[in-house]
Amino acid sequence: MAELNYGLSELALEIRSMVREFAEARVKPVRAELDEKGIFPTEILRELGKMDLMGLYIPVEYGGTFEGDSMPNLIAVEELSRVCIGVSVSFAANGLGADPILIGASDEQKKKYLPPLASGEKWAAYALTEPNAGSDAGAIRTTAVKKGDKYILNGTKQWITNGGEADIYTVFAVTDKNRGARGVSAFIVEKGTPGFRFGKKEDKMGIRASATRELIFEDCEVPAENLIGREGTGFIWAMKTFDVSRPGIAAQGVGLAQGALDEAVAYAKVREQFGRPIIANQGLSWLLADMATKVESARALTYAVVQSIDRGVKDYSKFSAMCKVYASDVAMQVTTDAVQVLGGYGFMREYPVEKMMRDAKILQIYEGTNQIQRDIIGLALNKEYAAAAKK
């Protein structure tokens, strides 16, 4: 198939072919069942670990394969998403959980927690959201009170991806309630820590293979050495994590939209009505053309953002938000159009586009709603143009 040359490294191209083959062989045959029954893809993640694919974002010195090129991990997410984003989010949430450690933890903490994540022996999760703190993440109420060489955590986290399945949780809690967002700290909490248990497992509209669960902390004693950075720096790690993780959501959108486009074109070529394939109708071929154009635009923007981050561009919050908002909107549009192309069949569970359309919706919601993303972009524009006017 014709494709653009994004200047991908040999490693990125290798990962693309490996994960594409893996997703076709191991994920595609089971995705409908994982979706229908809400089964966590344990075996799939284990196998990805054995294939050295769980540590693509972790530096070589901590057991991974990352040496400055973020594209291999991004493309792994894209290729898994092409087949199932319930699986790809379970894969990518490890990176999300590990990011605060990568960004803010000490060398000692990194040495302890990153190698088992890189090998896939352990899984991670990121725990910020609470019932009353979604978009307004600074409003979290989980508390951490220092007592000797321990912090005592109390509170409830909600909708935590990989909740219950992960071994290592990066948990955000308030250490100084008078300082608002600057009173938030980040902790590494291991599964099995007394006082840490799992609550309700959510029954979701889409990405049903992924685990979304409540975390409950009741006088949970966390060693003081598990604090990431200093007290009060948690919100910085949380936001910096989003800046690097949002392109991952964009990659999910690109992959999912590509998967839906693949299904739609394949169907339009074989489905005959009025004595010819429906793709021969201009109305339909133009719809497919628009879908394909959107997918490639979303891919180009996403890759450009990640490649720019790798090249040292510092001020990238705006661009991370742009690719997340754009690719997730594209995924919603393209999956909806794919259902339309397949008509009645598209609406049936027997065909995969119905699941793809249900799955797409979350991309516009999680990791910062698309409204929050537009806020970030708008705020940046306001600031940048004000600065330019002063010159």
Binding site: E14, I15, M18, E21, F22, A25, R26, E47, K50, M51, D52, L53, T65
Partner: protein, 262 residues
């Protein structure tokens, strides 16, 4: 423990076409892959390696130079060493000559405790090379293996039949031919692939294997292919459905009687 796995490069199709004039397989334009049953044999070896630390897995193939591709695939999945047995002298070998050649190559390696093969190759479908090599090596051979446990120098093997399975105990060294029911072959790992890319594989020639030249190649092969053809596809048959079972059963009995089959 040292495990040798013999693998074969085959065309990626179960619908092999045959050149009616030369009675050979038409390989042009068909992608080459590791014989699927051999993948199960390799996976069995790799799982044993995981279970028994210190185990070494050596993968051996006989074939043209391009057969290195399946050896690299094997390294990608975790094989420790590979041997490419390649020489014009081997060309045209039948299963007798091939199993002899493989046995001489294996004879050059560290003495194996276990020699594994796929049940059969999907191109030739003879299922003869595995047992043949075992005979040349003087080892017991269990065919159609779907599971193995090793303890105290002895292997316990499940041998599958259409209607059940046997559990056999065998002393090592021994040879097995492995079924697809044995496992799901893993995919190559990233580090394995990177290692395979760097690997330079020097072929082992007939001379290096120490094989008797009189036992190699087309001339030494006792098999003569007289004719080779695709069997005619089965006729469609008759299907009855939607009626009472008794009615359909009676109709079947009538038909069998009419044809004097009962």
């Amino acid at each position: 423990m040292h495990i040798v796995v013999c693998v074969k490069q085959v065309p990626n199709t179960t619908q092999v076409r045959i050149n009616p004039e030369t009675n050979t397989l038409i390989r042009d334009g068909v992608e080459s892959i590791m014989n699927p049953f051999d993948e199960n044999a390799l996976e069995m070896a790799l799982q044993l390696k995981e279970k028994h630390p210190g185990t070494k897995v050596t993968v051996v193939t006989m074939g043209p130079p391009q057969a290195v591709d399946i050896l690299k695939e094997a390294v990608g999945r975790g094989a420790d060493a590979v041997v490419l047995l390649s020489d014009r002298a081997f060309a045209g070998s039948d299963t007798w000559a091939t199993s002899y050649a493989l046995s001489t190559a294996i004879g050059k390696l560290e003495k194996p405790d276990l020699v594994l093969f796929g049940k059969q190759a999907i191109d030739g479908d003879t299922a003869q090379v595995g047992p043949g090599v075992a005979v040349w090596l003087g080892m017991p051979c269990i065919t159609y293996a779907r599971a193995i446990e090793i303890a105290d120098g002895e292997a316990t093997v499940e041998r599958l039949y259409e209607d059940g399975y046997e559990k056999l105990a065998v002393s090592l060294p021994c040879a097995l031919t492995v079924l697809k029911e044995a496992n799901v072959p893993r995919m190559a790992s990233l580090r394995g692939k990177m290692a395979a890319k760097k690997l330079v594989i020097e072929p082992m020639t007939a001379e290096m294997s120490g094989a008797d030249p009189a036992k190699l190649g087309l001339n030494a092969s006792p098999t003569r292919v007289v004719k080779i053809f695709s069997p005619p596809p089965k006729a469609g048959g008759v299907k009855w459905q939607g009626e009472e079972p008794e009615v359909m059963a009676q109709r079947l009995v009538d038909l069998l009687r009419e044809r004097k089959l009962v």
